[in-house]
Structure formats: structure tokens, C-alpha cells
Symmetry: C2
Subunit: 414 residues, 2 copies
């Protein structure tokens, strides 16, 4: 088969074990587990070295700004999306008017989503608006069925519930296809063909190395990575892209998902497909601190999109790890530490104004701004944000959900 390899990044060979698991003495980062012993969280520079990705540098941001005519999203400006693979190749395409598409996803493990789940979607919405490109969103209900104590029906139901939260972020229905694996795989010969093409290229040895599977894992888990890989290839979506397999894919995701796409990038040239490009985000920290990410399985670690105003206030005040002094006196004297302070970290994600955020940081670090005051700034942002999300979500009709989730032509020509 002809290779349509267009990657411009350094040579990659992901068969070596070193980069397949990130598990040094301080940090563990896998698709199923993120922990760090540091209160500042995972060492992301080390992660770039281990995974073999590239750091997002100011030149890349300048190029994005120039090409899109808009300032880069705050997640880019603040290094929340901090690492990439082949982003320059995507920007070259864009400059040369060659189309690309966006792919992101979510594992619907529960009905309620939390703030951390929104990060890739908020960023994907920005990318879709800035570059005006089609977007596919995979809901891996099959994965959640395989991994969790869930029925097929329940996992599928969660996929539809989560779709509403995603739609509520304002995606353009004419440019966005959202799908549940359970429903789409059973309705797309093209997708299934790519699944088995990928599965033929990947051995158990490889998924053992990349994902840490062992002999006691189910054959469903073992073959699942091919299902998360398949949407990276445009011909998995004939309704959108016809039979074209050469349209480049850009995947915004948290960096713990990178193992799936390292595998995908290894397989792509063997199938004659372009390698997907990636933009990696940092993790959204748990209320208790950056040692771990926000997790739906620990309700006290998370602010859910279903939380009421008073829940949010209580959770921030009660659980959010503070980088402030133990007493007001101590705080005034020694100042706070924004690098470990969870309310400040959350503001980095959600507070738009760069200058004011700098002022808050300075004020808190100097001891002028107190912990309670900092928490209040965050609460005053989150309360209306979550409420208006819930209002937008409640207004979504079943018909709209169905429209987003029906395989169909999008408002692009290929």
C-alpha cells in the first residue's frame, strides 16, 4: 500500500518500552490512572520527554494567531494545552487551504459530567470556530461497558446524557457529528473495516507494552484501542468525507490519552493513512490538590455540572486545597502559593482576563488577597457558569440530540 506519510516531526519508534508507560518515582500517567507525589502535580516537561511529543512554544502560538486572525485560546496562552504532535503540519495544511478535521471524545462512565470533562470540549469548540473545520466526537460507551460494572444499555444511556452536556457548549450542528460507539459501529461498515485493519496491525505484545494489559484482561479490553484509533482516519466517516482517507486529523485531548494515539500513529502509515496530529492538555486537578485529576468516581473531588450554587460554594470552601497561609497573620506575612492553590488553578482554566488574573496572582502571592477572597472570586465565576450550562442543557431537545448523532453530510465539501 502506498504510504501517505506526511509527518514532519522527528522520527518515532514506539516499540521501545520507555515511553509506553510513564511511571517514574514521582508521577504515574496512564489512560486509567493519573497521580503525582508533588502538590504542583505532574511534571509536564518530563512527560514531554517520556512520551516523545513536542512542547508548544510561543512561535506556534504566534502562528496560530496569525493564521486564525484571533488571539489563541486562554488554554494555549496559559500552557494548559502544552504539548503537541505535528501541529505545524496541520497549520501548513491550513495555510495551503488543505482541509483537516477535529476528533475528540469521552468515555461516558456516568450520567453527570464534571468541570474537568469540559476542558477538551471547550478547547475543541475554540478550534472549530477558529479554523472552521468539521468535528467528530466519539462517545466510547463500549469501552465503559467493557471496563466498568455497567450494562450495555446503561453505558449507551450515559453516552446520550453526556452528548447533551457536550452540545450545550455550543457546537455547530452543521459541522459536528457526535456518535456512540455502540450505535455507530453497528451502522457503519467503513468504521468496522478500519477497526479490523488496525487490529490486524497491532499485537498483544504491543498493547501490553502501551497500555499495560495482562493475560487476565478481557479480549474486549485488549482489542478496544483499535476502536479509539479508528476515528483518526477520515474514511471511517463516509457520510462526512466520502471515501477520502487522506484528510488530516487533529486530536485535542488530555495527555493521558496519548498512548492510544501513539499506537494510531504507528499504524497509520502501514494502512496508507496520514498520522493524526495532537494537542495535549494538562489535567484538571481534583479539589484536594494537583496530585490527582478530578474524578467522577470521587464526588468530593469534583464539581459536577449538576451541582447547585450552594454545592459549589460548599465544595470550594470546604475541599479546595489552599496554597494560603494557615492563619490570616501568616498569610499576610508570607503570602500564598498560587502554584499549588486549587482555586487559583481553576481560575487559570476559567478566568478570561489575563491582566486581572496576573493581578490576582500577585495579590495572593504577596499575601494581600486572602484565601476566602480568592475562593469567592472563583465561586462567583463558577456559579453562573454552571447554572447557565445547565439552562442551555435543559433547553436541548431530543430532536437536536438526534440531529447531532445522525451520520450525515456536514457543511463542508470534499
Amino acid at each position: 500500500m502506498a504510504e501517505t506519510e506526511t509527518s514532519t516531526s522527528k522520527e518515532e519508534d514506539h516499540t521501545s518500552k520507555d515511553e509506553n508507560k510513564f511511571n517514574d518515582s514521582n508521577d504515574v500517567v496512564t489512560p486509567w490512572n493519573v497521580t503525582s507525589i508533588s502538590s504542583e502535580g505532574v511534571d509536564y516537561n518530563k512527560l514531554i520527554d517520556h512520551f516523545g511529543s513536542e512542547k508548544i512554544k510561543p512561535e506556534l502560538l504566534e502562528r496560530v494567531e496569525k493564521l486564525t486572525g484571533k488571539p489563541p485560546h486562554r488554554f494555549l496562552r496559559r500552557g494548559i494545552f502544552f504539548s503537541h504532535r505535528d501541529m505545524n503540519s496541520i497549520l501548513n495544511d491550513f495555510e495551503n487551504k488543505k482541509p483537516f478535521f477535529l476528533y475528540t471524545g469521552r468515555g461516558p462512565s456516568s450520567e453527570a459530567m464534571h468541570l474537568g470533562h469540559l476542558i477538551p470540549f471547550i478547547f475543541t469548540k475554540y478550534l472549530q470556530d477558529a479554523f472552521d473545520v468539521p468535528l467528530v466526537i466519539q462517545l466510547t460507551d463500549d469501552e465503559k461497558f467493557l471496563w466498568k460494572d455497567l450494562t450495555v444499555e446503561k453505558a449507551n444511556e450515559f453516552a446520550y446524557e453526556n452528548a447533551k452536556d457536550i452540545i450545550a457548549l455550543g457546537f455547530d450542528v452543521n459541522k459536528t457529528f457526535i456518535f456512540s460507539d455502540i450505535d455507530y459501529i453497528g451502522s457503519s461498515t467503513a468504521f468496522y473495516q478500519n477497526m479490523i485493519k488496525i487490529q490486524k496491525c497491532v499485537t498483544f505484545n504491543q498493547v501490553k507494552g502501551i497500555f499495560g494489559f495482562n493475560d487476565s484482561d478481557s479480549i474486549g479490553k485488549i482489542s478496544f484501542p483499535a476502536i479509539q484509533a479508528a476515528p483518526s482516519f477520515s474514511n471511517s466517516f463516509p457520510d462526512i468525507f466520502g471515501s477520502r482517507s487522506d484528510i488530516h486529523c487533529l486530536i485535542p485531548c488530555a495527555i493521558d490519552q496519548d498512548p492510544y494515539f501513539r499506537m494510531t500513529r504507528d499504524v497509520a502509515p502501514r494502512l496508507g493513512y496520514p498520522k493524526p496530529a495532537l494537542l495535549h492538555s494538562q489535567f484538571f486537578p481534583a479539589l484536594q490538590g494537583a496530585q490527582t485529576k478530578m474524578s467522577a468516581s470521587d464526588p468530593n473531588s469534583s464539581i459536577f455540572l449538576t451541582d447547585e450554587a450552594e454545592d459549589i460554594e460548599t465544595k470550594i470552601n470546604k475541599y479546595a486545597y489552599s496554597g494560603g497561609g494557615i492563619t490570616v497573620e501568616e498569610h499576610r506575612k508570607k503570602g500564598g502559593n498560587c502554584d499549588v492553590d486549587i482555586p487559583f488553578q481553576y481560575l487559570k482554566f476559567f478566568f478570561e482576563d489575563d491582566q486581572k488574573l496576573d493581578e490576582i496572582k500577585e495579590s495572593y502571592n504577596s499575601g494581600k488577597l486572602l484565601t476566602g477572597e480568592l475562593k469567592k472570586i472563583l465561586i462567583d465565576i463558577l456559579k453562573p457558569m454552571v447554572r447557565s450550562h445547565r439552562e442551555r442543557r435543559a433547553a436541548i431537545t431530543e430532536k437536536e440530540v438526534k440531529q447531532f448523532m445522525t451520520p450525515r453530510k456536514l457543511a463542508f465539501d470534499y
Copy 2:
């Protein structure tokens, strides 16, 4: 989940390794390899012991005759279908007017099929006629893509070519659904749901034990057994059976396929589905002798359905292993040995008249009938049989193929 286990056979536990591979000093029997050091072929009684199935006894044949009002098929009368699982439970169902369905299949590894490939289908046609039940036929083009050096397109094309040979055997279009995995899985959410349900129940350890997979096998191969298992469950075919998952399945197949269905029978009660029943056939021997089965990958071992009259004559005369004496004198004196004689073995499969077959056997064993004469009897049967098969096949229209291969309601009510 409620168990609808209705098996009446002895308790089974297939986790022990002994029965998972049949590989004693004389015989090897796996889905990918059948060899014996004996010129009489595999020791089928030993196989029954190893696999833990049950021997088909005269009482079972009498029951079949009584219930169907027809003499049992020659494959049953002659012990070619020699082993079963739960066949009495199927006959109980039939007696009580409870519906069951037939499932068989084929891996479309090449365009041309050979005589050996017809055996399960000839027998399935008899069962369909005798019991008047619906039938699903799986063409595992995905399997052949995963195992062989074949493209998806080629494997899928072979599936459609093979479907014509199967249809040519005279199946009733109103009672038969033939499907290619590549096409059907991508068009059936119900089938995909059963696939992942099965995959969740089976570990790599288990498929390693049952099928001999190892760490260098592709994740496609490793998860494939779930795909061959899924058609055993009636709710994989909602167009035929609606949402009913309790309809019993009877699988006629060569015994080398039993590992797939041992696995299926282990999984079934955990999913609340009935275990499929089985009827196992012996192998159709290669021209060179019963040490191995007829194989499409060795053209000289096989008589293809595309062979012309002269090819058949040449192959039988030149390659068919003879149990006769080396010289006519020796043959007259010592007699032949029908137990190892391939032309006689083929007559056992295709010569209908029991009495005449006995006479041939006696005459050959006594030395009266010569090897050339015996071969001529076989040639005179095979030549018109293969020619008329080819004529029937040539008359099949694309429309007919499409009709057989469209998921649809069959002429049964559930």
C-alpha cells in the same frame, strides 16, 4: 441476569486445559490444523473423550427419524456426523413445538470452494428441510482478512462468491439469511452488542488456552472468537427473531470448530442466553489420504467445484490414495482396504444407496472390485454432481444473492 440455562448434558467446565487442545502423539485437531499420523485419519472416539462431547448413538438416529418422519441423512447413518452436544435438548424443543434455529458458516479464504467445504452445508440443508427451521450462515470474511494475506475488499469479495456456491445447494430464501461479517457487523447494533458482551466475559488467558494464541498474535485474532460466537444467540438477528434471546441454536459443523462453541457455551449462561447445541462432523479427507483434510491451499489435495470433468478424472486417478493391492494379482489375492481408501471414503460421503455401498465395500475388500473400477464409480458420481452444481451456481442472479444477504424477516413467527 437470569440464567436460562436449559442444557441437559453432563456438567461442563472448559477452563481445564486438557480438552482445549487436542494434540496427542497421533492427532492434532485445531480450527487451523488437522493432522493425524494414522492412514485411517483422526481417532474420533478419542476426540469425543478429549472434547467432552457425546457420541451420536443409534437411539438418537431413531428419535430423529421418528420426529422428522424421514430417514436420517446418510451423513448420520454412516457416522460422518458422529458427535453432538445437547442434541436431545433440541429434539425435546422440537417435540414440544418450541422453535430453534440453525447456524453454520464458512471462512471465505478463496474464490473456489472444494468438496470438503460442502459437507456442513449439505447436512444443514437436510436439517432445514427435515425440521423446517430458520437458518443463519456466517461468512467470516473479517477472520480471513485477519489471518491471511488478503485485503478487506478481497475477503469480502470471496464471501459473496462463496455465498453463490452455498445458495446453489438449494437453500430456501424465505428461511435463510446469509451474511458477511464485514457487512453485517457494520449494519447491526444488536450483533455488535453481543460481540462486546461476549468479549467482556472472555480473557486472553482463556483464548490462549482454547485456541493457542500467543503474545505475538494480533488483537484482531485475539478478539475474533467472540464474532464466531455471536450468531449462536438469537437476539443477534433482530430482523429474524425480534428481541428474543431465548431461541435455541443448533450448529452443524466440522469438529475442529468445536473450540469456538465450547467457549460460547461457557459464556452463554453468564449472559442469560441458552447454550448452542452442536452436531460435529468428521473431516473430509485430502486426496492423498486421511492423515489430513482437504485444503484449498493445496490444490492437488482437493477437488474444486470449479474443476472440469477431466480435472476430476485426472485428480482421482492420479492422486486419490488407494487402499488396493499394489498389483492386480495382489489385490485379487489379499483384497483392498476401504478404511484407508480415499475413493471409497468419498463414496461414503456422496453415494446415497446404503445397500449398494455395502456391496461395493465387500467387493473391494474381497479383491473382486479393482482400484480402477472403484475410482470409476466415484468419478461417475462426482462429474455430474460438480457439473450440475456449477450450472445451478451460474444461474444464480445478483438479485438472489442480495435477497439471501439482506437482513430481513424470515418465514417464521416469533
